[in-house]
């Protein structure tokens, strides 16, 4: 029995691409960036790590990738302890940081070849891989150009190619599509989906919540250095008890329609905003609108579902922590 327990424990541990326990980071100025977080990311997962600015996402990523020294806690990457098996752990990671951190004065292809070399890949093989990833990310034509001459979107793609050139088991993307236009963003999503389908575990932080909703299967939300939610995307979205829809109507109104059980607001004479709770359905709403002689031309969500949940969770936490603050006169 004990054997079975130890075996299953070891198997669970080995199946984790990332295993974090009681991770603390206190900066020299006393700021507690991380306050004892626990996090598990299984092999093969596409995992979202979300949080507001300064919540602790980048510090967590920095510690995992050894760019930031932790204060205390344990971190295992693909079963390797970053304290005692640092280089083995690093070998498993590909990192796409938030800011451009390649040599702007090096040719694009050289950046990838050097990166491969740091992981022990011979130059001939490095060239082959560089060609493969530059072609896949539509940068092959730019291979001889200095990196500084690339556009913002091309630089983002270069960082992804660089992170993949040693074919890591765990790819960490810190805001990979920041400042990238929607067309390139979507092609990057396709590329990342494919990389994940081929077995690469991906951890993604992003400010575009529809990105996380579209790509990720599991999610953790970090706020003020603590994990406040860690579950599957499905379960999290199921928690959403209310959605806000924006309806463009064919008529012009001077006051919002009164519909029993629905909160309505008039944005402008041709646009209504309606809050719908989970126990109400859209058919009933449309029947009411029809009865009132209102015809809907188009409909959209005010914000995406994950965004609403995120704001409610982070807002709730903020309210909770404000409750504990001393109240002045």
């Amino acid at each position: 029995m004990l054997h079975f327990y130890v075996f299953s424990l070891a198997r669970d541990f080995m199946n984790r691409a990332l295993y974090i326990r009681d991770l603390w980071k206190v900066y020299r100025d006393g700021v507690e960036a991380l306050r004892g977080i626990d996090l598990d990311v299984m092999e093969g997962d596409f995992f979202a790590l979300l949080g507001a600015n300064g919540a602790g996402k980048s510090t967590t990523i920095g510690i995992v990738s050894t760019l930031v020294n932790k204060t205390s806690g344990k971190v295992y990457v693909c079963g390797k302890d970053i304290d005692t098996q640092k280089n083995e752990a690093k070998r498993c990671i590909g990192l796409v940081p938030q800011e451009f951190n390649f040599n702007q004065f090096e040719p694009v292809e050289e950046i990838l070849i050097n990166q491969a070399g740091y992981y022990g890949i011979e130059r001939r093989e490095a060239r082959r891989r560089a060609q493969r990833y530059l072609e896949e990310l539509d940068l092959w034509e730019k291979r001889r150009q200095m990196a500084r001459s690339l556009s913002g979107g091309q630089k983002r793609r270069l960082m992804i190619a660089r992170a993949l050139v040693h074919e890591p088991r765990l790819l960490i993307l810190d805001e990979p599509t920041a400042g990238v236009d929607i067309e390139i963003r979507r092609s990057m999503w396709d590329f990342l989906r494919e990389a994940n389908a081929l077995g690469t575990t991906i951890i993604l932080t992003t400010h575009y919540l529809e990105e996380a909703e579209n790509l990720c299967r599991n999610i953790a939300i970090i706020d003020h250095g603590e994990i406040i939610e860690n579950t599957s995307m499905k379960r999290l979205l199921a928690k959403l008890d209310r959605e806000t829809l924006i309806l463009d109507i064919e008529e012009t109104l001077d006051h919002p329609p009164s519909i029993d059980g629905y909160a309505t607001r008039l944005i402008d004479p041709g646009t209504i905003e309606i809050d719908i709770s989970r126990d109400r359905d859209l058919n009933t709403l449309f029947c009411h609108l029809n009865d009132l002689g209102i015809h809907v031309a188009s409909m959209r969500n005010k914000s995406n579902r994950l965004e609403e949940l995120f704001l409610s969770l982070v807002g709730e936490e903020a309210r909770q922590s404000n409750k504990n603050l001393p109240v002045g006169n």
């Binding site: 050894t66 760019l67 083995e88 800011e99 040599n103 004065f105 070399g117 992981y119 022990g120």
Partner: protein, 256 residues
């Protein structure tokens, strides 16, 4: 594992050599021109009136010192500017997140610095042939002293880069420490010409030992016993390597 170390080290060294080769007009040409001016002004125009020094023409006497001066300043400035540039542009993170051990990162940068120091040293030696007949008395001493000196100043440049927070910080040491010590390190004169106190004071200048050992290798004359020079150079290399590696292991200047 050895193969991995070899590939990683080769990658860093090639990257460093390509870096200074790409900008050869900024890295190789200026020291060659500066040294040529020294040859013309001090060696040819003024030197012809100075006469013999330690039994050699003044031009012959200053050639080893000027070659060594080029090796020192270029190996130092290559590493300090390259590593600080990597910090400033944040591409040092490529190396930090990779499995390359810190000692290998340090070794790679030092070899890169040595490569530039020696490249410039060879170029300056070649230019000196236009002004004087050059020979090498002891090739082993000449080569080892040049290599060790380049390694020493590459390490010093690396430490400077670790602590530097701005481009001003990487020019302070070369301007206010390296250049005065080099000029006062017996490049242009024999310390035997100095009065007692100044001669004793000169012995505290480590560059004096390198210049004299190199001159011993080339011309066969030196103010300092060769063994003392080797001991001092190796001692400094050991100290600087230990300090640089310790700083790198602690992540000083590169990790939060």
């Amino acid at each position: 594992m050895l193969k991995y170390y070899y590939v990683a080290l080769k990658t860093i060294v090639i990257k460093e050599v390509l870096r200074f080769s790409r900008i050869w007009v900024q890295t190789i040409v200026p020291p060659v021109i500066t040294t040529s001016l020294y040859f013309i002004i001090f060696g040819h125009l003024i030197g012809s009136r100075i006469g013999k020094m330690d039994g050699y023409s003044y031009m012959e006497f200053i050639v080893p010192g000027l070659v060594m001066m080029a090796v020192i300043t270029n190996s130092y400035s290559n590493v300090v500017s390259s590593f600080f540039g990597a910090k400033f542009g944040r591409h040092v993170e490529e190396l930090i997140v990779s499995p390359v051990p810190n000692w290998l990162i340090l070794l790679g940068y030092v070899l890169g610095g040595m490569a530039r120091g020696l490249a410039v040293g060879i170029a300056v030696s070649a230019v000196s042939l236009l002004f004087t007949h050059l020979w090498v008395e002891n090739i082993a001493v000449t080569v080892t002293i040049a290599l060790l000196t380049a390694a020493l100043f590459s390490l010093a440049g690396f430490i400077n880069a670790i602590f530097a927070n701005s481009f001003d910080d990487i020019s302070i040491v070369p301007t206010f420490v390296l250049t005065p010590l080099t000029y006062l390190g017996g490049v242009f004169y024999s310390i035997n010409l100095l009065p007692g106190f100044w001669k004793e004071l000169s012995l505290a200048n480590p560059i004096l030992y390198m210049v004299n050992a190199f001159r011993k290798g080339m011309l066969g004359t030196s103010d300092i016993p060769l063994g003392v020079s080797y001991a001092i150079i190796l001692g400094f290399i050991f100290i600087l390597f230990t300090v640089a590696l310790n700083l790198l292991n602690r992540g000083v200047g590169i990790r939060s």
